[in-house]
Structure formats: C-alpha cells, structure tokens
C-alpha cells in the first residue's frame, strides 16, 4: 500500500456507504448491522494502535536532550549576592542583620493579621544570639507589661518548651490593661538593637572579613565586578535551548501553530519588525538586546509608581542644605530624652522588689504604670517620625539633581523596611504575601547588574525611555515605534521578538518547527488517552 492516508480516507467512505445501505428494520437486520460495525471497529482499533505506536516512537525520536547544569553557576551567583548584601556600603547593621524585615513584620502585626507573634519575637531573639547577645528578661524593661510578657516568653524559649499557651494566657491578661503591648515590645527591641550597635557592627565586620577572604574579594566594587561576570555567565548558560522551546510548546506556554511557516502570526511578526531583513542572523544579536531592554523597561513600568512617589516626596529636598538639616538628630534626641524619662518611671515601678507588684500604695503604682504606658505611647509616635527621618537622612546622603532610577532602586533595595512601606502605600496593598511578592520582584530588578537603561535615566527630570529605545533599534533595521513600547503593547512586541528569535534558532538547529509541532500533537493525543482512561 503506497499511501495509507489515501487508503484510510477511501476505506472510511466505502465503509460509511456500506453501513448506510444495510437494512436495519428487523432484529436480525440490526444484529447483523451491529456485527458488521463490530468487525470494522475491531479492524480500526488495530489501525489506531499501530498508528499511535508509530506516532509516539517518531515523536520520541524528535525529542532533543540538552543538558544545562546551572547549579554551580546559580550557587556562585547566590554566594556573591550574599557577599554584596553584607558589604553594601549604603545601609547599616540594622539592615544587614535583617532586623528591618522583622521590625516591619511586628510593626504591621495588626494590619496583616499575622498568625504568630511568637515567630517574629523568636526571629528577633535569634538575630541577637547570632551576634552572641543572649537577652534576659531584665533587658525587656520598656514597660512593666513588656517585662511580664517577655519573662514568660523567655522562660518557654529557654526551656525549649513546645507550647506557648502560658505566654498566650499572659498576653490575654495584659492586653485588656495595655492593648499596645505589641507596639511596646517592638520599641523595646528597637532600643536593644540600638544599645547593642557596637556588638552588631563587630559581628558584621567579622562576617564581612570571612566572606571576603573565602571568596577572594577585595572590596565592594570588586564584589560588584564579580557579580556582573557571574550574571553574564549564568545568562549565557541559561539561554533558551531547543529543548526549552519544545517543553514550552508542550505546556502551551508558546503556541507552536504560530511558528509554522504558513502562520499569520509568524508573517506579521517578521513583516512588522524586520521587513527589510533577509538574514535574521544579522539582526539576532540586536533583537536579543532589545528583548532584555524590553524586560527591563517592563520592570521600570511596573515599579514606576514607586519612582514617582520618591520624586514627589524627596524632590523638594534638593534645595535643602544637607549640613544644616538636623531632622534625624532632633528626633533621636527627643527619643533619648523621653526614654530616659520612661526609664525613671520604670525604676520606680520596679523598685517594689522583690515582687513586681509589691508597692506601698496600689493606686500610686497604678498611676505610675499608666504614666509609663502613656510615655511609651508617645515614644511610639516619635519612632514613627524617626523612621521617616531615618530614610530621609539616607536619601539626603545621595540626593542630587542627577540621581538616577538605578540609584533609587539601590536605595530601596538597601532599606527593606522602607521599600515595603512604600510598596504598601503606592499600590495600596493590605495583604502581606502580596507585598512580599512585589518586594521580591523589586529586589530581582534592583539586583540585576545587566540593567542598562535605568542607569542613565535621571529621576527628577522628564524622560522618554520608549523614544530612546525605538530610536536606538531603528538604527539596527528593527522597525519599532514608541507606540509598540506602550505598556499595553509591550507583551505583544516581546512575543514577536521571541517568535523571530526562536524561529531562527530552530531553523539553525537539527530539528524543525514541523517536528516540534508533531511532538506537541502526539503529546495531546497521549494526554487525551490518559484523560479518557481515567
């Protein structure tokens, strides 16, 4: 038999004619009719099985296996990122110890309905222990209530008990007298973080020395150089391969039908983007760069509200005399004065030793406790101002009229607490996981040393990045307009570029688009079978 398809088509027609002319009036007719059908079914099941097995074997022979072991490169990159994090000259031990993350959590405990306060407190205590500081209950003397709660907490922690039920009971009891207990615990930790600054700085210095020696890094600039190289190595090694394309086609992440030579989508992509190009190889490097630029631009647009917020908030400080501005110092002094006052009050409260609540007059003690709670409340407000001034101080250190988007990215990346606060504010998010998602994406954007556009874009002057990109690539015979780079059209543009690059890659490889299409069809057939048999 020369052509099986022809045979099948003719045979089907013949069989259909046959069964349409068979009598079906009587029971005998019907029985005979069904017997005939069963015979044909049997024959066609054989055809189906043989064809199916052939298809599967053929599709398997088209599969491409490319081994890309990225583990080592990824590990190298992660190590260097950790070194960069520790050496970052922009921030302090507070950020390097990740206290800012935990303080953000405890500060927003109510907003995000966190399940466990214990986890946050244990996280903070762990950080102290990492630096060799073992806090005791007497360290928690911000208010008598903080002392009572943390005494119970440390007892459970130090005895490694599994249940914090007793601590929860104490929390309940205190809560009705002092609902701001969590805020005061936060302030106590803030005070302890500040008090132990020397120890933390020494700990960080030791860590820095260790990682620099281990990774043969001279200084921060050297680390950035190595990081850039590691990024380039990883990007090269993780470039999309033919097997990646096959995998994406199978999972429908890309529509392989669009890649076939007679597809409208393919024609549109080529005709609109590179109408005059006959050899795609010649524009492929420029298209690769354009792809990266678009991804970077997409990130820029996603976080544009944060850059706008920064501009609105801090542009007015450009005219402020940095040396004269004493915002942070003033608030630090105010906090210190008030904390001294609170300490004096607490001394009076705690002086009824040996028992915490032994005091000559119950009402005098009550009065003192009330005063201390009010003082702590005032301090909480002062710390809010401190946060604003702290970040403003960091901003002012680098503020100038040529400040770039890249500088702002690095600033927010260096101060996690303020990055999350800004995300929360500008995107109006109240879900913690959502904030973390934004924050992680922001960090990925900020950490990428291959960013190129944003390094030259000043934050305080108007700029037209879309125009810059489209002008640059028109010189490379790539036909893009500012409109193509409109936020709504970016995905479409990126898909066109990916299509051209992938078609070119496939055509240069040992496989073909038709083979990949075939693999996908067979995959569908097998998936359908599995579904039917379920």
């Amino acid at each position: 038999m020369n052509n099986f398809l022809e045979f099948i088509n003719k045979d089907i027609e013949a069989k259909k004619t046959l069964i349409s002319t068979m009598p079906t009036k009587t029971k005998t007719n019907k029985k005979k009719f069904n017997e005939t059908i069963d015979d044909i079914i049997e024959r066609y099941e054989e055809y189906k099985t043989s064809t199916r097995n052939y298809l599967i074997a053929k599709a398997k022979s088209f599969e491409v296996k490319e081994s890309t072991d990225l583990d080592q490169l990824t590990e190298k990159l992660e190590t260097l990122e950790n070194v960069k994090f520790l050496l970052n000259p922009t921030n302090t031990y507070v950020e390097k110890m990740c206290f800012d993350d935990l303080l953000y959590q405890i500060n927003n405990y109510d907003t995000f309905n966190f399940k466990s306060l214990n986890e946050i407190i244990n996280g903070l205590l762990d950080k102290f222990e990492q630096a060799g500081i073992h806090l005791e209950s007497d360290d928690f003397n911000y208010t008598c209530y903080v002392h009572e709660y943390m005494t119970a907490f440390l007892e459970v922690r130090n005895r490694r008990l599994s249940s914090y039920d007793k601590v929860s009971e104490i929390f309940e009891q205190i809560y009705w007298v002092n609902p701001e207990l969590i805020q005061h615990i936060e302030l106590n930790f803030r005070k302890l973080i500040k008090k132990n600054s020397r120890k933390f700085n020494n700990y960080i210095l030791t860590l820095q020395k260790e990682v620099m020696e281990k990774n043969k890094i001279r200084d921060y600039a050297h680390c950035l150089e190595k990081l850039q190289d590691a990024y380039i190595d990883l990007n090269m090694a993780s470039k999309e391969t033919i097997s990646d394309i096959i995998a994406m086609a199978k999972t429908k992440e890309l529509d392989i039908e669009q890649y076939l030579s007679d597809s409208k989508g393919r024609k549109t992509a080529f005709d609109s983007l590179i109408p005059e190009v006959t050899d795609v190889d010649k524009v492929a490097p420029a298209l690769e760069k354009l792809k990266l630029n678009i991804l970077e631009y997409q990130n820029y647009l996603e976080f544009y509200p944060m850059f706008k917020y920064f501009k609105d908030e801090y542009e007015k400080l450009l005219t402020t005399d940095k040396k004269e501005y004493k915002g942070l110092k003033t608030i630090i002094d105010q906090i210190e004065t008030k904390e001294n006052e609170l300490e004096k009050l607490n001394k009076k409260i705690f002086s009824g030793k040996p028992g915490l609540f032994e005091f000559r007059s119950d009402s005098a003690l009550k009065q003192l406790k009330l005063q201390s709670v009010l003082k702590a409340k005032e301090l909480y407000e002062l710390y809010k101002t401190y946060d604003i001034e702290y970040f403003k101080d960091k901003v002012m250190m680098i503020l100038n009229d040529t400040l770039t988007i890249s500088d702002v990215l690095n600033l927010y990346y260096s101060f996690d607490y303020f990055k999350k606060l800004t995300i929360q504010k500008v995107y109006n998010i109240t879900d913690y996981d959502e904030i973390i998602k934004y924050s992680d994406n922001f960090d990925l954007f900020a950490m990428n040393p291959t960013n190129i556009i944003i390094t030259g874009v000043p934050i305080f002057s108007s700029n037209n990045i879309a125009k810059t990109i489209s002008n640059k690539y028109r010189l490379n015979s790539i036909n893009i307009s500012e409109d193509d780079l409109n936020e709504d059209n970016l995905k479409n543009l990126l898909n066109k570029i990916l299509l051209i690059l992938r078609v070119n890659k496939i055509e240069k490889s040992e496989t073909t688009i038709e083979k990949i299409w075939f693999i996908v069809q067979v995959e569908k057939i097998v998936a359908k079978e599995i579904k039917e048999n379920d």
Partner: protein, 47 residues
C-alpha cells in the same frame, strides 16, 4: 460481512501532518462507528 484481509501499510511515506491526520481520521471514524451501533431491544420475533 466477509472478514477483510489485513492491510499492510507503510506509515513512513506520510508527512508529519498526514500522520496526525490519518490518526485523527481513524479515531473519528472509530467514534462514529461506536455511536452508530443500534441498541437492541428485547423482541420476541421478527416484525
């Protein structure tokens, strides 16, 4: 119906599109056949 001889066929001459097409046609026809079968009722004698 007289049992047909088994057809000896060569799939290697078909293009990839034809291979998928032939499988699809066989599957569709098999389905058509299953659906064409007549449900037999309990009848005592021929009408």
């Amino acid at each position: 119906m007289k049992r047909e001889e088994k057809v000896d066929f060569d799939l290697s001459t078909l293009t990839l599109k034809e291979l998928i097409e032939v499988y699809q046609n066989i599957t569709d026809f098999s389905q058509f056949l299953v659906e064409s079968k007549i449900e037999l009722e309990e009848e005592n004698e021929d009408e």
